[in-house]
Structure formats: C-alpha cells, structure tokens
Symmetry: C2
Subunit: 388 residues, 2 copies
C-alpha cells in the first residue's frame, strides 16, 4: 500500500437543485452517481466505498440505513454508509473519504451528498429538520429556530460593526445573480435589494429572502490517490486540505456572537498546513444558509477583515469580477440548499472553476479555491482547499 | 507523518446497558467517554476526532448534529460527527476511525457508540426505529418489520437445514447465561428453553424472547497508532482488520435467504488479508439481534459449517467452554442492544477478554477475537479481527 497526501477529484456528477418531485431519493442519487461514473467510463465495481452525506433521511424518508439503500438501487456492491453532521454532512463525508484514500486502503471512493426535502410539504417539517442541527434541549425545545439564532448573530454584527440591512440584502442579490448564470441552480431569477427588504419577516432582521429554501438534489464526486488520478485526468484538480473545526453547538455557549470560531480554526489550520494565507484564495464557496452567514463566513475565513463582510459585499469585492469572488455557483441561497448535498456541490463548483467550464460565471487565474460548510448555527465547520 | 497498519485500543469505557432513565443521551455518552479518558489519564485535548456511531437520534431526540452535541457536553473541542448505518453504526464508526489512524493524520481518536431508546416508551416507535434500517419503500411501507424478515430467514433455514425451534431457543439460553456473568449486561436473569418457546409470538417462528429489546447505553474506545500505543499499554490489543461487506438492503433482492453474503464477504476478506482462517478465531461477538441471526452469523463467518449453526449451539460448541465461544458478553440479546452502541461494545468485550478481566466468563488462550455487526436485515455487515 502506498500513501498519498493529496487526493484528486477524478469525476463529478450533479442533479439540478430544486423541486425534483419526479424522483425519490434513490432516483436523485442515481442521476449524480451515474453522471460521475459515465464521464470517465468507470465500472461500478471499481468504486471501493460509498460515503453518503445526508442530514434528514429519517425525518424525510424514515430511512436510517441510507448508504445501503442508495448502494442497492445504484447497483453498487461496495461498503456504504451515511455521515451526518447537520448541514455540514456532505463536507464531513468528503473529509472522511479523503482520509480513506490517504490511509492507502482505497484507490477510488465516491462521496454522494443527497437530500430530498420537498416531500416534506409542510414548512413546519423543514423548520424541524433545520432545528435538529441545534442544541435540542437548550435551543430547539425552547423554541429557537435556525432563523432566530442567525438573527441574534446578525443583530450583534450590526451593533458591533455597523453592518446594514442593505449589505445583508446585497449577499442575496449577488447570489441570485450568480445562480442565474448556473443552469443547475434552483433559482434562475435575479432579485433587487428592495425585494429582499420587503419580503416577509422571519426573525428580525432576517427576512424570507435572506433564507435558503427547501430543495432536492444530489452531488457526487469520485476521489482517487494522486498516482491513480493521472490515468483519468492529465491535469487533475486536488483536494489539498479538509479541516474540521469545532464550536459549542449552542450559540449561548460561545465566546462571541459575531465570530465563527470553528470556521476560523479550520481555515487557519488549513492555511498553516499548506504554508499559504487567505490571500492565496482566489475563489470561495461559503455556507450562506442565511445572508448574514456569508458575511460571518468571509470574515472568519480571513477573506476580509473582521467587520468588513458587509462593506466588502456592498463594494462588489465578493462579486464575480471582484477581488475575491464568493459563491460563484449562487451559493446555498441561489443554487439551492439540499442540506446533505450542499457541501459536495461546493467542491464541484470549485472543480468546474478550475476546469474552466463555468461560462459566464467563470473566474480567471485561480490559485486556490476554498469551500466552507457549516452544521447547525456553526458548531460544525469544514474548510477545504482545492488546487492544482 | 508516519503510517501504521495495526491500530491499537488504548482505553475503553462503557455504561451499563438497560433502562438508564436518569440520563439524557449526553449523560450516557459522558459516562463512557470519561471512563475511557480517566483510565489512562488522557487530557481531552489529546483526542483529535470523535466518531459517534448512532442510529436513531432523530427519532429519539430530534437531533441531527449529534457529534457536535456530544462533543460540546463532554468538553471536547475536536471535530465530531455521526456515522450511521442502521444497527451497524457503531462498527462502521470504528472502521472509519481506524482509517483515520492509518491515514497518519491522527494519533488518538475516540469512537463512541451511543443510543438512548427507552424514552421512546411506545413499542411502536422502537419498531419504527428498527424498520428504518430496512428498504423503506419495498419493505417498511409494505408492513415488513425486522422480526418479520428474520422470521422469513428462520423459516428458510429450518426448511433447508432442519434447524429447530429449540436450537434457536438455545441461543437465547446461552446468551442470557453469559449475560448473567456480565455486570454491565441488561439482563442478569437466566432463562430456560421453555420460557423462550412459550413467550409471545412476534412473527412465526420468532417469539418475544428471541428478540432483543429496548436499551440505553454507550460504549467508548480510544484508538491510536502502534507507535503511540506502547506509551499507554505495554501489551496493547490491536484491531488488525475492519472489513465492511454489502448485500442488497431488501431481503427479496438477495440470492439466498439463508446466507448472509455481506458477512461472508467481509469475513473472508479479513481472513485473507491476515493470512488466517476461521480456525484461528478463538472467540466471537456476533450480531444476535434475533436468535436466528446468531445461527446465520456463525455460519457466514465460517465458524461452523453451513447448516450447523443450530446443532453447534445445541451441542454447546458456542458456549463459554465450547470449541468456539460466541457472545461471551451476552450478546445483543443478553448484554443489551442500544443500537449504535452495540458494535463498539463488542470490541470492548473482546478487549476485556484479551486483557483477562472477564472473571467467570473469561475465555482462555485467545489467538484472535472476531466482532460481527450488521445493519438492517444484513445489508450492511462489518467484521473486525482483534489480536495481540
């Protein structure tokens, strides 16, 4: 057995994100799985493990053996299981698959992020699903929702740094714009600041258009060690780092309402291990589950100074032509947020950016790309760095 | 970074299994976690990842960010997440943790298997939990339960091999006897064959006493690479192999009703990679979720010939003083079956057997010990081999 530090992405597959009412969860999974296999004509038996990132299969499908279910109906005969860390499930699955390749025991593994949410037709069930990523006793059962907790963070950020309601709305405007250039995005419509500001209030200052919505979707990547990768791709894209950071699950247990400490930790560790800094990041896909989350994320990642997330967004620094484009895919807000699929879709967007296949949303001269995923209100954070 | 193939168990901790009504899931987890840490005076910050094996935290606690929750209330600040593969969740978590050590990136990781089931006071919810490990569409929604599927397997085995109702009952008698020698077991009472045969019918031929019951419990192990292990233990117990096998999730999709093909595959692969055979196994902990499951398992593992699972049990071959003791702990049936904890508890029993701390249920002269865990009706199988 040999040991490879860098892990290559040798293929990808992805459904459109949105209301895929025609398909069950196995059907959605199969679209992404077979696209990834077919692109490189890879026989199924060459996949040695299937890592499924999924958050809510019990709530949505009554299913707690999802890896085995999806493997069965995809025609795989390899080990399969589910990895779950709330809405960071897909990213954590990628992290574990990367370790499996690094352990030398696997040559090719697939990570599938998948979620089928729209069958839960009641908004109540979707709120429950999201709230199950929080502290069950001291947040969820006390009536806190994800929107309420991010509203607290938003208020604290506004007070501390002067972040404005309009700046938060600009995140949404940008991500819808980017999504309109992404054929697989859930939302193809552009929105104006006024639309966001006039939308229904969820939890002051967060309004309906600041939030992501229900979506179905699947995203699959095939990973391989460096020595295997060149058989499939003469210019592979590599995952150089996947770091996971911790913060207490409950917002009230954290030292700060405005710092995503788990994200900061993971990002700094990733930069340090690579000998780079945030300045070497050319493009980032971040966890914009609410608009304020993108502002918090780009600060925690060091892409902008603390307190500058709002102004940087307003100035266009994070737009496609800005100094540090954020969420070129449209993000969770625009591309869509099928929870378990979100973290894997981010990796695919960066892969596509490196491959130069992003048409109107293509970023030029990318040194490194960064993906940032969170579980719950920030208790779980995953930061991945991709490059050549 | 160095690379180690063998992975050592450097500490263990475990709650009693049963109705631990005084504790929430975080409380149960903390007992096992702190016992494992305290035994070797390991500071929490030295644990680099927490792998949580759990099946039903959404059904039982409405919690989908369980790793983060447990890490928070245990005082960890390391990455944490949940791994789920129905009732094999604990064993699959061990497999992933072993790979993390092998990848060279982690020196010490903890695997916690945990389940809190007794709060689901309605038997209906427990049946739902178990059934969520089956094929949701073509089994669960058609009314199939775990008991019903294992009843089909039992009937097929009786017809093909002449396995008797009494032989199945002997599995229960043996495992309750072993449990009566295990202070942490849920059931301390011994039972007679007649008790099993006269218990309430669940799904012919499976009766109430053939089945495992609701339990709460947690089991934790700390894993380290070989070079680290000797700092904590001059005679470490090693996990030499953890293999996962696949079978279609639905019983009707399998080639045979009497062969656990995923278990066979995993066992044969483990034996082959070690250059041993089933004859080198001195003791086994197997997945006796129903009594027939133990008979199927010992055949699939090659510990007895096909069709000989019933007679071998009847003859006492699998008893504590038999040629191949099976489930010395009492198994899922006697020790208890908190679903996500079951696979980790098996590893702890083997560890204790190697350490010679099992008092009246101690097996002598152990060469290798084998742990076998399954998810659902056998779609997911994990086989681990422990030794010096």
């Amino acid at each position: 057995m040999t040991k490879s530090e860098k892990v290559a992405i040798i293929s990808t597959g992805m459904t459109e994100f949105g209301d895929l009412y025609e398909y069950e969860i196995t059907g959605i999974a199969n679209i992404a799985i077979h696209e990834a296999l077919n692109k490189i004509n890879l026989p199924k038996k060459e996949i040695e493990s299937l890592y499924v990132g999924n958050m809510g299969s019990h709530l949505f499908e009554g299913q707690e053996n999802l890896g085995n279910l999806i493997a069965t109906y995809a025609g795989f005969t390899c080990p399969a299981f589910k990895i779950q860390a709330a809405d960071a499930s897909g990213a954590v699955a990628v992290r574990n698959a990367v370790k499996a390749i690094q352990s030398g025991s696997k040559q090719k593994v697939m990570v599938l992020g998948v979620e089928k949410m729209t069958e839960a037709t009641k908004q109540y069930e979707a709120q429950l699903a999201l709230a199950s990523g929080l502290d069950t006793n001291w947040e969820t059962r006390m009536g806190a929702t994800m929107a309420a907790l991010f509203a607290i963070m938003a208020k604290a950020h506004m007070r501390k740094y002067g972040t404005t309601r309009e700046q938060m709305a600009q995140v949404v405007v940008k991500n819808h714009y980017n999504a309109s250039l992404n054929p697989k995005a859930q939302y193809q419509n552009r929105v104006r600041v006024e639309t966001v500001l006039n939308s229904k209030m969820l939890a002051d200052p967060i309004r309906l258009f600041d939030a992501t919505s229900l979506a179905d979707g699947a995203a699959a990547i095939i990973l391989a060690s460096e020595e295997v990768a060149y058989s499939y791709d003469s210019e592979p894209v590599f995952i150089h780092q996947v770091k996971q950071g911790f913060a207490p699950i409950a917002l009230h247990l954290r030292d700060s309402l405005t710092d995503l400490s788990g994200t900061e930790f993971a990002a700094q560790k990733a930069y340090k291990d690579m000998g780079i800094s945030a300045k070497n990041i050319s493009v980032a896909e971040v966890h914009d589950i609410f608009s304020i989350a993108e502002i918090l994320a780009i600060e925690a990642l060091g892409l902008v100074e603390k307190g500058q997330g709002g102004p940087a967004t307003e100035n266009g620094d994070t737009s496609l032509k800005g100094s540090i484009p954020v969420n070129p895919s449209g993000g969770l807000k625009g591309r869509g947020a099928p929870l378990g699929a979100a973290g894997v879709a981010q990796i695919i967007e960066l892969y596509d950016q490196f491959k130069g296949t992003c048409d109107e949303r293509q970023i030029k001269d990318i040194e490194y790309g960064l993906a940032h995923s969170m579980g719950g209100s920030g208790g779980t954070s995953v930061v991945s760095i991709l490059g050549r």
